[in-house]
Protein backbone atom coordinates (compact mmCIF):
# COMPACT_ATOMS: atom_id res chain seq x y z
CA UNK A 1 0.00 0.00 0.00
CA UNK A 2 2.88 2.32 0.68
CA UNK A 3 4.22 1.64 -2.76
CA UNK A 4 0.82 2.20 -4.31
CA UNK A 5 0.38 5.42 -2.39
CA UNK A 6 3.74 6.80 -3.48
CA UNK A 7 3.05 5.65 -7.02
CA UNK A 8 -0.20 7.56 -7.09
CA UNK A 9 1.44 10.65 -5.57
CA UNK A 10 4.20 10.62 -8.13
CA UNK A 11 2.13 9.95 -11.22
CA UNK A 12 -0.45 12.62 -10.56
CA UNK A 13 2.14 15.13 -9.41
CA UNK A 14 -0.19 16.96 -7.02
CA UNK A 15 2.05 18.16 -4.22
CA UNK A 16 -0.40 19.78 -1.84
CA UNK A 17 -2.29 16.63 -1.06
CA UNK A 18 -1.46 15.12 2.36
CA UNK A 19 0.02 11.65 2.29
CA UNK A 20 -2.88 10.15 4.18
CA UNK A 21 -5.20 10.79 1.24
CA UNK A 22 -2.96 8.79 -1.04
CA UNK A 23 -2.83 6.07 1.55
CA UNK A 24 -6.62 5.92 1.72
CA UNK A 25 -7.00 5.89 -2.05
CA UNK A 26 -4.25 3.32 -2.34
CA UNK A 27 -5.90 1.22 0.34
CA UNK A 28 -9.28 1.38 -1.35
CA UNK A 29 -7.78 0.42 -4.68
CA UNK A 30 -6.00 -2.49 -3.09
CA UNK A 31 -9.23 -3.52 -1.40
CA UNK A 32 -10.99 -3.29 -4.74
CA UNK A 33 -8.42 -5.52 -6.37
CA UNK A 34 -8.70 -7.99 -3.51
CA UNK A 35 -12.49 -8.05 -3.90
CA UNK A 36 -12.10 -8.64 -7.59
CA UNK A 37 -9.77 -11.54 -6.91
CA UNK A 38 -12.17 -12.84 -4.30
CA UNK A 39 -15.02 -12.75 -6.75
CA UNK A 40 -13.25 -14.09 -9.80
CA UNK A 41 -11.22 -16.87 -8.23
CA UNK A 42 -14.20 -18.96 -7.13
CA UNK A 43 -15.73 -18.53 -10.58
CA UNK A 44 -12.67 -19.89 -12.31
CA UNK A 45 -11.95 -22.46 -9.66
CA UNK A 46 -15.45 -23.93 -9.65
CA UNK A 47 -15.34 -24.29 -13.42
CA UNK A 48 -11.88 -25.86 -13.30
CA UNK A 49 -12.96 -28.20 -10.55
CA UNK A 50 -16.02 -29.35 -12.43
CA UNK A 51 -14.14 -29.90 -15.65
CA UNK A 52 -11.19 -31.67 -14.04
CA UNK A 53 -13.51 -33.82 -11.93
CA UNK A 54 -15.43 -34.75 -15.06
CA UNK A 55 -12.39 -35.70 -17.08
CA UNK A 56 -11.02 -37.80 -14.25
CA UNK A 57 -14.33 -39.67 -14.34
CA UNK A 58 -14.28 -40.11 -18.13
CA UNK A 59 -17.13 -37.72 -18.70
CA UNK A 60 -17.45 -34.22 -20.05
CA UNK A 61 -18.60 -31.84 -17.34
CA UNK A 62 -20.60 -28.71 -18.11
CA UNK A 63 -20.97 -28.32 -21.86
CA UNK A 64 -24.21 -26.53 -22.59
CA UNK A 65 -23.89 -23.20 -20.77
CA UNK A 66 -21.62 -21.18 -23.01
CA UNK A 67 -18.83 -22.69 -25.02
CA UNK A 68 -17.88 -25.93 -23.23
CA UNK A 69 -19.65 -24.73 -20.13
CA UNK A 70 -17.58 -21.61 -19.49
CA UNK A 71 -20.62 -19.69 -18.26
CA UNK A 72 -21.64 -22.43 -15.86
CA UNK A 73 -20.36 -20.71 -12.75
CA UNK A 74 -22.05 -17.50 -13.75
CA UNK A 75 -25.29 -19.44 -14.04
CA UNK A 76 -24.69 -20.92 -10.60
CA UNK A 77 -23.97 -17.50 -9.15
CA UNK A 78 -27.14 -16.15 -10.72
CA UNK A 79 -29.16 -18.95 -9.26
CA UNK A 80 -27.70 -18.43 -5.79
CA UNK A 81 -28.37 -14.71 -5.97
CA UNK A 82 -32.04 -15.19 -6.69
CA UNK A 83 -32.62 -18.05 -4.30
CA UNK A 84 -34.67 -17.40 -1.20
CA UNK A 85 -32.59 -17.12 1.95
CA UNK A 86 -34.37 -19.35 4.41
CA UNK A 87 -33.79 -19.00 8.14
CA UNK A 88 -34.77 -21.81 10.50
CA UNK A 89 -37.43 -20.73 12.93
CA UNK A 90 -35.62 -21.47 16.17
CA UNK A 91 -32.23 -20.36 14.97
CA UNK A 92 -30.20 -17.74 16.75
CA UNK A 93 -30.98 -14.92 14.35
CA UNK A 94 -28.01 -12.66 14.94
CA UNK A 95 -25.39 -15.39 14.81
CA UNK A 96 -27.08 -17.03 11.84
CA UNK A 97 -26.83 -13.88 9.80
CA UNK A 98 -23.35 -12.93 10.98
CA UNK A 99 -21.68 -16.31 10.50
CA UNK A 100 -21.22 -16.25 6.70
CA UNK A 101 -19.89 -12.73 7.02
CA UNK A 102 -17.28 -13.76 9.57
CA UNK A 103 -16.09 -16.71 7.50
CA UNK A 104 -15.96 -14.58 4.37
CA UNK A 105 -14.13 -11.83 6.23
CA UNK A 106 -11.44 -14.20 7.46
CA UNK A 107 -10.62 -15.30 3.94
CA UNK A 108 -10.96 -11.83 2.44
CA UNK A 109 -8.74 -10.16 5.02
CA UNK A 110 -5.95 -12.66 4.44
CA UNK A 111 -5.84 -11.68 0.78
CA UNK A 112 -4.45 -8.31 1.72
CA UNK A 113 -1.00 -9.56 2.61
CA UNK A 114 -0.57 -11.95 -0.31
CA UNK A 115 1.84 -10.72 -2.93
CA UNK A 116 0.95 -10.70 -6.57
CA UNK A 117 4.37 -9.88 -7.93
CA UNK A 118 7.56 -8.08 -7.07
CA UNK A 119 6.55 -5.11 -4.97
CA UNK A 120 2.86 -5.62 -5.69
CA UNK A 121 1.14 -6.31 -2.43
CA UNK A 122 -1.96 -4.67 -1.08
CA UNK A 123 -0.40 -4.46 2.37
CA UNK A 124 3.30 -5.21 2.54
CA UNK A 125 3.34 -5.93 6.24
CA UNK A 126 6.54 -6.81 8.02
CA UNK A 127 4.59 -9.48 9.87
CA UNK A 128 2.65 -10.48 6.79
CA UNK A 129 2.80 -14.20 7.47
CA UNK A 130 1.58 -13.91 11.01
CA UNK A 131 -1.27 -11.72 9.80
CA UNK A 132 -2.32 -14.29 7.20
CA UNK A 133 -2.28 -17.17 9.68
CA UNK A 134 -4.23 -15.10 12.17
CA UNK A 135 -6.85 -14.10 9.65
CA UNK A 136 -7.45 -17.61 8.39
CA UNK A 137 -8.04 -18.66 11.97
CA UNK A 138 -10.84 -16.13 12.31
CA UNK A 139 -12.99 -18.29 10.03
CA UNK A 140 -13.15 -20.94 12.73
CA UNK A 141 -15.24 -18.64 14.85
CA UNK A 142 -17.58 -18.10 11.93
CA UNK A 143 -17.91 -21.84 11.38
CA UNK A 144 -18.81 -22.50 15.00
CA UNK A 145 -21.31 -19.66 14.88
CA UNK A 146 -22.86 -21.18 11.77
CA UNK A 147 -23.11 -24.63 13.30
CA UNK A 148 -24.60 -23.40 16.57
CA UNK A 149 -26.98 -20.88 15.12
CA UNK A 150 -28.49 -23.37 12.66
CA UNK A 151 -30.33 -25.15 15.48
CA UNK A 152 -29.51 -28.44 13.80
CA UNK A 153 -27.69 -31.40 15.35
CA UNK A 154 -25.86 -32.27 12.17
CA UNK A 155 -24.72 -28.74 11.65
CA UNK A 156 -23.41 -28.54 15.19
CA UNK A 157 -21.52 -31.81 14.81
CA UNK A 158 -20.10 -30.70 11.51
CA UNK A 159 -19.09 -27.35 12.93
CA UNK A 160 -17.42 -28.97 15.93
CA UNK A 161 -15.53 -31.39 13.74
CA UNK A 162 -14.51 -28.64 11.39
CA UNK A 163 -13.33 -26.40 14.21
CA UNK A 164 -11.34 -29.24 15.77
CA UNK A 165 -9.80 -30.07 12.44
CA UNK A 166 -8.85 -26.51 11.53
CA UNK A 167 -7.44 -25.75 14.95
CA UNK A 168 -5.45 -28.99 15.02
CA UNK A 169 -3.91 -28.34 11.67
CA UNK A 170 -3.00 -24.76 12.49
CA UNK A 171 -0.06 -26.17 14.45
CA UNK A 172 1.74 -28.04 11.67
CA UNK A 173 0.81 -25.30 9.21
CA UNK A 174 2.41 -22.71 11.45
CA UNK A 175 5.50 -24.83 11.91
CA UNK A 176 5.76 -25.36 8.18
CA UNK A 177 5.49 -21.63 7.64
CA UNK A 178 8.06 -21.14 10.38
CA UNK A 179 10.51 -23.32 8.49
CA UNK A 180 10.39 -20.96 5.55
CA UNK A 181 10.68 -17.99 7.90
CA UNK A 182 13.79 -19.48 9.49
CA UNK A 183 15.31 -20.16 6.09
CA UNK A 184 14.57 -16.65 4.89
CA UNK A 185 15.05 -14.72 8.08
CA UNK A 186 11.94 -12.55 7.82
CA UNK A 187 8.17 -12.70 8.22
CA UNK A 188 7.68 -10.35 5.30
CA UNK A 189 6.26 -12.21 2.29
CA UNK A 190 8.15 -9.97 -0.08
CA UNK A 191 11.48 -10.65 1.54
CA UNK A 192 10.87 -14.37 1.65
CA UNK A 193 10.24 -14.33 -2.07
CA UNK A 194 13.30 -12.22 -2.69
CA UNK A 195 15.43 -14.66 -0.69
CA UNK A 196 14.57 -17.31 -3.26
CA UNK A 197 15.70 -15.36 -6.27
CA UNK A 198 18.43 -16.57 -8.53
CA UNK A 199 17.00 -19.52 -10.33
CA UNK A 200 15.18 -22.71 -9.56
CA UNK A 201 17.96 -24.11 -7.41
CA UNK A 202 17.45 -21.29 -4.94
CA UNK A 203 13.84 -22.12 -4.20
CA UNK A 204 13.44 -23.30 -0.65
CA UNK A 205 12.16 -26.69 -1.76
CA UNK A 206 15.47 -27.32 -3.45
CA UNK A 207 17.68 -25.34 -1.12
CA UNK A 208 17.03 -27.43 1.96
CA UNK A 209 15.70 -30.93 2.62
CA UNK A 210 13.80 -29.47 5.52
CA UNK A 211 12.24 -27.01 3.12
CA UNK A 212 11.13 -29.87 0.91
CA UNK A 213 9.57 -31.74 3.80
CA UNK A 214 8.01 -28.59 5.17
CA UNK A 215 6.48 -27.82 1.79
CA UNK A 216 4.83 -31.23 1.62
CA UNK A 217 3.58 -30.91 5.16
CA UNK A 218 2.39 -27.35 4.68
CA UNK A 219 0.46 -28.53 1.64
CA UNK A 220 -1.20 -31.33 3.60
CA UNK A 221 -1.98 -29.06 6.52
CA UNK A 222 -3.35 -26.51 4.09
CA UNK A 223 -5.68 -29.14 2.64
CA UNK A 224 -6.98 -29.79 6.13
CA UNK A 225 -7.38 -26.08 6.80
CA UNK A 226 -9.67 -25.60 3.86
CA UNK A 227 -11.74 -28.73 4.50
CA UNK A 228 -10.70 -30.31 1.22
CA UNK A 229 -10.38 -34.01 0.59
CA UNK A 230 -9.12 -36.10 2.17
CA UNK A 231 -10.07 -33.95 5.14
CA UNK A 232 -13.60 -33.03 4.17
CA UNK A 233 -15.49 -34.68 7.00
CA UNK A 234 -17.19 -31.41 7.94
CA UNK A 235 -18.81 -31.16 4.56
CA UNK A 236 -19.12 -34.80 3.69
CA UNK A 237 -22.35 -34.96 1.78
CA UNK A 238 -23.05 -38.54 2.66
CA UNK A 239 -22.43 -38.17 6.35
CA UNK A 240 -23.57 -34.83 7.59
CA UNK A 241 -25.79 -33.64 4.75
CA UNK A 242 -23.65 -30.59 4.34
CA UNK A 243 -22.24 -30.02 7.80
CA UNK A 244 -22.25 -26.50 9.10
CA UNK A 245 -23.71 -24.94 5.99
CA UNK A 246 -26.74 -27.24 5.74
CA UNK A 247 -29.25 -24.60 6.72
CA UNK A 248 -27.90 -21.88 4.53
CA UNK A 249 -29.30 -21.08 1.11
CA UNK A 250 -28.96 -18.42 -1.49
CA UNK A 251 -26.39 -15.72 -1.08
CA UNK A 252 -25.36 -16.86 2.40
CA UNK A 253 -24.41 -20.26 1.06
CA UNK A 254 -22.57 -18.51 -1.74
CA UNK A 255 -20.49 -16.73 0.90
CA UNK A 256 -19.40 -20.03 2.46
CA UNK A 257 -18.75 -21.44 -0.96
CA UNK A 258 -16.62 -18.50 -2.04
CA UNK A 259 -14.77 -18.46 1.26
CA UNK A 260 -13.77 -22.09 0.78
CA UNK A 261 -12.36 -21.44 -2.66
CA UNK A 262 -10.54 -18.31 -1.56
CA UNK A 263 -9.04 -20.31 1.30
CA UNK A 264 -7.77 -22.74 -1.30
CA UNK A 265 -6.26 -19.81 -3.14
CA UNK A 266 -4.57 -18.57 0.04
CA UNK A 267 -3.09 -21.99 0.79
CA UNK A 268 -1.81 -22.35 -2.75
CA UNK A 269 -0.39 -18.84 -2.67
CA UNK A 270 1.34 -19.50 0.65
CA UNK A 271 2.89 -22.65 -0.70
CA UNK A 272 4.04 -20.94 -3.85
CA UNK A 273 5.48 -17.86 -2.16
CA UNK A 274 7.10 -19.61 0.78
CA UNK A 275 8.64 -22.60 -0.89
CA UNK A 276 8.36 -22.44 -4.64
CA UNK A 277 10.14 -19.16 -5.15
CA UNK A 278 7.22 -16.74 -5.18
CA UNK A 279 7.41 -14.53 -8.21
CA UNK A 280 10.86 -15.68 -9.24
CA UNK A 281 11.29 -17.49 -12.47
CA UNK A 282 13.19 -20.62 -13.23
CA UNK A 283 16.27 -18.87 -14.53
CA UNK A 284 18.23 -16.36 -12.50
CA UNK A 285 17.64 -12.69 -13.08
CA UNK A 286 14.75 -10.30 -12.84
CA UNK A 287 11.43 -11.97 -13.60
CA UNK A 288 9.30 -10.63 -16.42
CA UNK A 289 6.28 -8.44 -15.65
CA UNK A 290 7.34 -8.21 -12.00
CA UNK A 291 6.91 -11.97 -11.72
CA UNK A 292 3.12 -11.96 -11.89
CA UNK A 293 2.89 -14.74 -14.51
CA UNK A 294 5.32 -16.93 -12.58
CA UNK A 295 3.40 -16.58 -9.34
CA UNK A 296 0.09 -17.18 -11.07
CA UNK A 297 1.47 -20.24 -12.81
CA UNK A 298 2.71 -21.76 -9.57
CA UNK A 299 -0.53 -21.00 -7.78
CA UNK A 300 -2.48 -22.51 -10.67
CA UNK A 301 -0.43 -25.70 -10.54
CA UNK A 302 -0.96 -26.04 -6.81
CA UNK A 303 -4.69 -25.44 -7.10
CA UNK A 304 -4.89 -28.02 -9.86
CA UNK A 305 -3.17 -30.52 -7.59
CA UNK A 306 -5.66 -29.74 -4.82
CA UNK A 307 -8.57 -30.38 -7.18
CA UNK A 308 -6.86 -33.50 -8.54
CA UNK A 309 -6.34 -34.95 -5.06
CA UNK A 310 -10.07 -34.84 -4.47
CA UNK A 311 -10.55 -37.82 -6.76
CA UNK A 312 -7.56 -39.79 -5.58
CA UNK A 313 -7.87 -40.19 -1.85
CA UNK A 314 -10.71 -41.54 0.26
CA UNK A 315 -12.00 -39.45 3.10
CA UNK A 316 -10.16 -39.77 6.39
CA UNK A 317 -12.11 -40.77 9.48
CA UNK A 318 -12.13 -38.19 12.19
CA UNK A 319 -9.77 -40.15 14.46
CA UNK A 320 -7.42 -40.85 11.55
CA UNK A 321 -7.49 -37.15 10.82
CA UNK A 322 -6.45 -36.29 14.36
CA UNK A 323 -3.76 -38.96 14.29
CA UNK A 324 -2.26 -37.58 11.12
CA UNK A 325 -2.44 -34.05 12.47
CA UNK A 326 -1.02 -34.52 15.92
CA UNK A 327 1.06 -37.65 15.72
CA UNK A 328 2.61 -37.33 12.29
CA UNK A 329 2.60 -33.74 11.13
CA UNK A 330 3.36 -31.96 14.39
CA UNK A 331 6.55 -33.90 15.29
CA UNK A 332 7.81 -33.87 11.72
CA UNK A 333 7.24 -30.15 11.28
CA UNK A 334 9.01 -29.52 14.53
CA UNK A 335 11.94 -31.48 13.15
CA UNK A 336 11.92 -29.41 9.99
CA UNK A 337 12.01 -26.17 11.94
CA UNK A 338 14.92 -27.48 13.97
CA UNK A 339 16.70 -28.68 10.88
CA UNK A 340 16.17 -25.38 9.10
CA UNK A 341 17.61 -23.56 12.09
CA UNK A 342 20.63 -25.87 12.05
CA UNK A 343 21.06 -25.27 8.35
CA UNK A 344 20.87 -21.52 8.66
CA UNK A 345 23.47 -21.53 11.40
CA UNK A 346 25.87 -23.84 9.53
CA UNK A 347 28.84 -22.35 7.69
CA UNK A 348 28.26 -21.58 3.99
CA UNK A 349 30.60 -24.29 2.85
CA UNK A 350 28.25 -26.95 4.16
CA UNK A 351 25.18 -25.54 2.44
CA UNK A 352 25.93 -27.57 -0.66
CA UNK A 353 25.35 -30.76 1.33
CA UNK A 354 21.88 -29.63 2.27
CA UNK A 355 21.09 -28.78 -1.32
CA UNK A 356 22.26 -32.17 -2.52
CA UNK A 357 20.02 -33.89 0.03
CA UNK A 358 17.07 -31.78 -1.08
CA UNK A 359 17.66 -32.66 -4.71
CA UNK A 360 17.99 -36.31 -3.72
CA UNK A 361 14.59 -36.15 -2.04
CA UNK A 362 13.12 -34.60 -5.16
CA UNK A 363 14.70 -37.38 -7.16
CA UNK A 364 13.12 -40.00 -4.94
CA UNK A 365 9.70 -38.45 -5.45
CA UNK A 366 10.26 -38.31 -9.20
CA UNK A 367 11.30 -41.95 -9.24
CA UNK A 368 8.21 -42.96 -7.29
CA UNK A 369 6.09 -41.01 -9.76
CA UNK A 370 7.71 -42.67 -12.75
CA UNK A 371 7.21 -46.09 -11.23
CA UNK A 372 3.59 -45.26 -10.46
CA UNK A 373 3.04 -44.10 -14.04
CA UNK A 374 4.44 -47.30 -15.45
CA UNK A 375 2.55 -49.45 -12.97
CA UNK A 376 -0.75 -47.93 -14.04
CA UNK A 377 -0.33 -48.51 -17.75
CA UNK A 378 -3.11 -51.08 -17.59
CA UNK A 379 -5.76 -48.53 -16.64
CA UNK A 380 -8.46 -49.40 -19.17
CA UNK A 381 -9.46 -47.06 -21.92
CA UNK A 382 -12.74 -48.80 -22.75
CA UNK A 383 -12.10 -49.11 -26.44
CA UNK A 384 -15.35 -50.95 -27.19
CA UNK A 385 -17.64 -48.08 -26.39
CA UNK A 386 -15.39 -45.58 -28.09
CA UNK A 387 -15.38 -47.56 -31.33
CA UNK A 388 -19.16 -47.69 -31.42
CA UNK A 389 -19.40 -43.92 -31.08
CA UNK A 390 -18.19 -43.73 -34.64
CA UNK A 391 -21.60 -45.06 -35.73
CA UNK A 392 -23.34 -41.82 -34.89
Amino acid sequence: MEALATLLAETTGLTGVPHIVWMIIGGLTAAGIATAVMGVTPLLLVYVERKVSAHVQDRLGPMRTGFHGLLQTLADAFKLLFKEQIEPEQSDKLLFVLAPGVVFMGAFAALAALPLGMGITAADLNVGLMYILAMTSVSVVGIIMAGWASNNKWSLLGAMRSAAQIVSYEVPASFGVLTAVVLAGSLNMGEISAAQSGGIWNWFVFQSPFGFLAFVMLFIAGLAETNRVPFDIPEAESELVAGYHTEYSGMRFAFFFMAEYVNMLIVACLGAVLFLGGWNGVLPGEPVFAGIPWLLAKVAVLMYVIVWLRWVLPRLRVDQLMTVGWKVLVPLTMVTVLGAAVQVLSPPSTQIVFRIVAWAMTGVVVLISIRAWRQTAHVPIRKKELASRAVA
Partner: protein
Protein backbone atom coordinates in the same frame (compact mmCIF):
# COMPACT_ATOMS: atom_id res chain seq x y z
CA UNK B 1 12.35 -49.57 17.63
CA UNK B 2 9.86 -51.63 15.69
CA UNK B 3 7.22 -49.02 16.28
CA UNK B 4 9.50 -46.35 14.92
CA UNK B 5 10.18 -48.23 11.70
CA UNK B 6 6.44 -48.95 11.40
CA UNK B 7 5.78 -45.25 11.77
CA UNK B 8 8.12 -44.21 9.02
CA UNK B 9 7.07 -47.09 6.81
CA UNK B 10 3.44 -45.95 7.16
CA UNK B 11 4.35 -42.44 6.15
CA UNK B 12 6.24 -43.68 3.11
CA UNK B 13 3.38 -45.98 2.12
CA UNK B 14 0.86 -43.19 2.47
CA UNK B 15 2.79 -40.96 0.13
CA UNK B 16 3.58 -43.72 -2.32
CA UNK B 17 -0.01 -44.89 -2.61
CA UNK B 18 -1.21 -41.33 -2.96
CA UNK B 19 1.19 -40.83 -5.86
CA UNK B 20 0.09 -44.08 -7.49
CA UNK B 21 -3.53 -42.99 -7.19
CA UNK B 22 -2.64 -39.68 -8.75
CA UNK B 23 -1.07 -41.52 -11.66
CA UNK B 24 -4.28 -43.45 -12.20
CA UNK B 25 -6.43 -40.34 -12.21
CA UNK B 26 -3.92 -38.59 -14.44
CA UNK B 27 -4.23 -41.38 -16.95
CA UNK B 28 -7.97 -40.85 -17.06
CA UNK B 29 -7.72 -37.16 -17.74
CA UNK B 30 -7.41 -36.13 -21.34
CA UNK B 31 -9.12 -39.27 -22.58
CA UNK B 32 -12.25 -39.03 -24.71
CA UNK B 33 -15.28 -39.35 -22.52
CA UNK B 34 -17.48 -42.39 -22.47
CA UNK B 35 -20.61 -40.27 -22.28
CA UNK B 36 -22.25 -38.66 -25.26
CA UNK B 37 -24.28 -35.54 -25.41
CA UNK B 38 -27.87 -36.42 -25.96
CA UNK B 39 -29.91 -35.09 -27.77
CA UNK B 40 -27.35 -33.38 -29.96
CA UNK B 41 -25.74 -36.73 -30.61
CA UNK B 42 -28.16 -39.66 -30.95
CA UNK B 43 -27.55 -42.80 -28.99
CA UNK B 44 -24.76 -44.72 -30.72
CA UNK B 45 -26.08 -48.23 -30.12
CA UNK B 46 -29.75 -49.23 -29.93
CA UNK B 47 -31.01 -50.39 -26.59
CA UNK B 48 -30.97 -54.12 -25.79
CA UNK B 49 -34.01 -56.02 -27.13
CA UNK B 50 -35.54 -56.67 -23.71
CA UNK B 51 -35.66 -52.98 -22.82
CA UNK B 52 -39.10 -52.01 -21.59
CA UNK B 53 -39.27 -48.66 -23.28
CA UNK B 54 -42.65 -48.48 -24.92
CA UNK B 55 -45.60 -50.79 -25.38
CA UNK B 56 -46.95 -51.69 -28.77
CA UNK B 57 -49.93 -53.80 -29.85
CA UNK B 58 -50.49 -55.19 -33.28
CA UNK B 59 -54.29 -55.02 -33.41
CA UNK B 60 -54.61 -57.46 -36.31
CA UNK B 61 -53.33 -60.30 -34.13
CA UNK B 62 -55.47 -59.62 -31.08
CA UNK B 63 -58.03 -62.30 -30.15
CA UNK B 64 -59.69 -60.14 -27.45
CA UNK B 65 -59.07 -62.69 -24.70
CA UNK B 66 -58.78 -59.81 -22.15
CA UNK B 67 -55.90 -61.46 -20.32
CA UNK B 68 -53.83 -58.31 -20.58
CA UNK B 69 -56.60 -56.13 -19.13
CA UNK B 70 -57.11 -58.57 -16.28
CA UNK B 71 -53.45 -58.87 -15.33
CA UNK B 72 -52.60 -55.18 -15.56
CA UNK B 73 -51.87 -53.93 -12.01
CA UNK B 74 -52.94 -50.37 -12.78
CA UNK B 75 -55.91 -51.14 -15.06
CA UNK B 76 -54.66 -49.05 -17.90
CA UNK B 77 -56.00 -51.28 -20.71
CA UNK B 78 -59.54 -50.78 -21.97
CA UNK B 79 -60.78 -53.57 -24.14
CA UNK B 80 -64.16 -54.12 -25.81
CA UNK B 81 -65.16 -56.79 -28.22
CA UNK B 82 -68.18 -58.22 -30.01
CA UNK B 83 -69.23 -61.78 -30.60
CA UNK B 84 -69.30 -62.69 -34.23
CA UNK B 85 -72.45 -64.00 -35.86
CA UNK B 86 -72.62 -67.74 -36.55
CA UNK B 87 -72.36 -67.38 -40.31
CA UNK B 88 -69.19 -65.24 -40.38
CA UNK B 89 -65.89 -66.71 -41.33
CA UNK B 90 -63.48 -66.84 -38.39
CA UNK B 91 -60.19 -65.16 -39.31
CA UNK B 92 -56.88 -66.38 -37.95
CA UNK B 93 -53.94 -64.57 -36.41
CA UNK B 94 -50.43 -64.98 -37.67
CA UNK B 95 -49.75 -67.38 -34.79
CA UNK B 96 -52.60 -69.71 -35.71
CA UNK B 97 -55.15 -68.65 -33.08
CA UNK B 98 -58.73 -68.16 -34.24
CA UNK B 99 -60.14 -64.69 -33.72
CA UNK B 100 -63.53 -65.75 -32.35
CA UNK B 101 -64.29 -62.28 -30.98
CA UNK B 102 -64.17 -59.07 -32.94
CA UNK B 103 -62.12 -56.37 -31.32
CA UNK B 104 -63.87 -53.02 -31.22
CA UNK B 105 -61.89 -50.95 -28.72
CA UNK B 106 -58.37 -51.26 -27.44
CA UNK B 107 -57.02 -48.24 -25.57
CA UNK B 108 -54.00 -48.15 -23.34
CA UNK B 109 -53.55 -45.13 -21.08
CA UNK B 110 -49.80 -44.64 -21.26
CA UNK B 111 -49.77 -42.26 -18.34
CA UNK B 112 -50.98 -45.10 -16.11
CA UNK B 113 -48.80 -47.81 -17.61
CA UNK B 114 -46.01 -48.78 -15.23
CA UNK B 115 -44.02 -50.80 -17.77
CA UNK B 116 -44.12 -53.99 -15.74
CA UNK B 117 -44.75 -55.98 -18.99
CA UNK B 118 -47.09 -58.43 -17.23
CA UNK B 119 -49.51 -57.93 -20.12
CA UNK B 120 -46.90 -58.92 -22.68
CA UNK B 121 -46.26 -62.16 -20.86
CA UNK B 122 -49.88 -63.33 -20.82
CA UNK B 123 -50.76 -62.39 -24.38
CA UNK B 124 -51.20 -65.73 -26.19
CA UNK B 125 -50.62 -64.38 -29.68
CA UNK B 126 -47.69 -62.17 -28.76
CA UNK B 127 -49.32 -59.18 -30.31
CA UNK B 128 -48.61 -57.02 -27.24
CA UNK B 129 -44.91 -56.40 -26.71
CA UNK B 130 -42.36 -53.99 -25.40
CA UNK B 131 -40.13 -52.25 -27.89
CA UNK B 132 -36.82 -50.50 -27.20
CA UNK B 133 -38.08 -47.23 -28.68
CA UNK B 134 -37.66 -44.58 -26.01
CA UNK B 135 -37.95 -41.34 -27.89
CA UNK B 136 -41.66 -40.68 -27.77
CA UNK B 137 -41.93 -37.57 -25.67
CA UNK B 138 -44.92 -35.40 -26.37
CA UNK B 139 -44.41 -31.84 -27.43
CA UNK B 140 -47.48 -29.70 -27.14
CA UNK B 141 -47.52 -26.26 -28.57
CA UNK B 142 -48.07 -24.60 -25.23
CA UNK B 143 -45.87 -26.77 -23.06
CA UNK B 144 -42.43 -27.79 -24.27
CA UNK B 145 -41.53 -31.03 -22.56
CA UNK B 146 -38.50 -31.90 -24.58
CA UNK B 147 -35.35 -29.84 -24.30
CA UNK B 148 -34.81 -27.39 -27.11
CA UNK B 149 -32.92 -29.02 -29.89
CA UNK B 150 -32.78 -28.87 -33.65
CA UNK B 151 -35.86 -29.47 -35.77
CA UNK B 152 -34.63 -32.72 -37.24
CA UNK B 153 -33.81 -34.08 -33.79
CA UNK B 154 -37.29 -33.24 -32.60
CA UNK B 155 -38.89 -34.99 -35.54
CA UNK B 156 -36.66 -38.00 -35.05
CA UNK B 157 -37.66 -38.23 -31.43
CA UNK B 158 -41.37 -38.19 -32.20
CA UNK B 159 -41.39 -41.01 -34.67
CA UNK B 160 -42.68 -43.74 -32.40
CA UNK B 161 -46.40 -44.52 -32.56
CA UNK B 162 -47.35 -41.03 -33.55
CA UNK B 163 -50.33 -41.85 -35.63
CA UNK B 164 -52.94 -39.50 -36.96
CA UNK B 165 -54.49 -37.22 -34.37
CA UNK B 166 -57.47 -39.40 -33.63
CA UNK B 167 -55.23 -42.24 -32.62
CA UNK B 168 -53.73 -40.40 -29.71
CA UNK B 169 -55.68 -38.28 -27.27
CA UNK B 170 -53.08 -37.04 -24.85
CA UNK B 171 -51.67 -40.21 -23.37
CA UNK B 172 -54.38 -42.63 -24.44
CA UNK B 173 -53.14 -44.68 -27.35
CA UNK B 174 -55.80 -46.25 -29.56
CA UNK B 175 -53.88 -49.18 -30.91
CA UNK B 176 -56.43 -50.21 -33.47
CA UNK B 177 -56.15 -46.88 -35.22
CA UNK B 178 -52.38 -46.82 -34.78
CA UNK B 179 -51.93 -50.26 -36.31
CA UNK B 180 -54.24 -49.40 -39.15
CA UNK B 181 -52.42 -46.17 -39.83
CA UNK B 182 -48.99 -47.74 -39.74
CA UNK B 183 -49.94 -50.57 -42.05
CA UNK B 184 -51.79 -48.35 -44.51
CA UNK B 185 -49.05 -45.80 -44.83
CA UNK B 186 -46.53 -48.56 -45.28
CA UNK B 187 -44.38 -47.52 -42.32
CA UNK B 188 -44.81 -50.93 -40.79
CA UNK B 189 -45.34 -51.88 -37.19
CA UNK B 190 -42.27 -52.07 -34.93
CA UNK B 191 -41.20 -55.70 -34.75
CA UNK B 192 -41.33 -57.77 -31.60
CA UNK B 193 -37.72 -57.68 -30.47
CA UNK B 194 -37.79 -60.83 -28.37
CA UNK B 195 -36.64 -63.89 -30.27
CA UNK B 196 -39.21 -66.64 -30.76
CA UNK B 197 -37.64 -68.96 -28.23
CA UNK B 198 -37.92 -66.39 -25.45
CA UNK B 199 -41.62 -65.84 -25.75
CA UNK B 200 -43.83 -67.68 -23.36
CA UNK B 201 -45.87 -70.28 -25.19
CA UNK B 202 -49.26 -71.31 -23.92
Amino acid sequence: MRALTEYFKNIYLALETAITGMAVTLRHQGRPSVTFQYPDQPRPQPLPPRSRMSLFMDADDCIACMQCARVCPVDCIELESNKRGKEEEVPETTTGHKKRLELTLFDIDMSLCCYCSDCTEVCPTHCLYMTPEFEFGLVNDDRQILRETSEENRIRMQRQVVGPDESRQGFIYDFMAITKHLKETGKGVPPNPLPETDRWEK
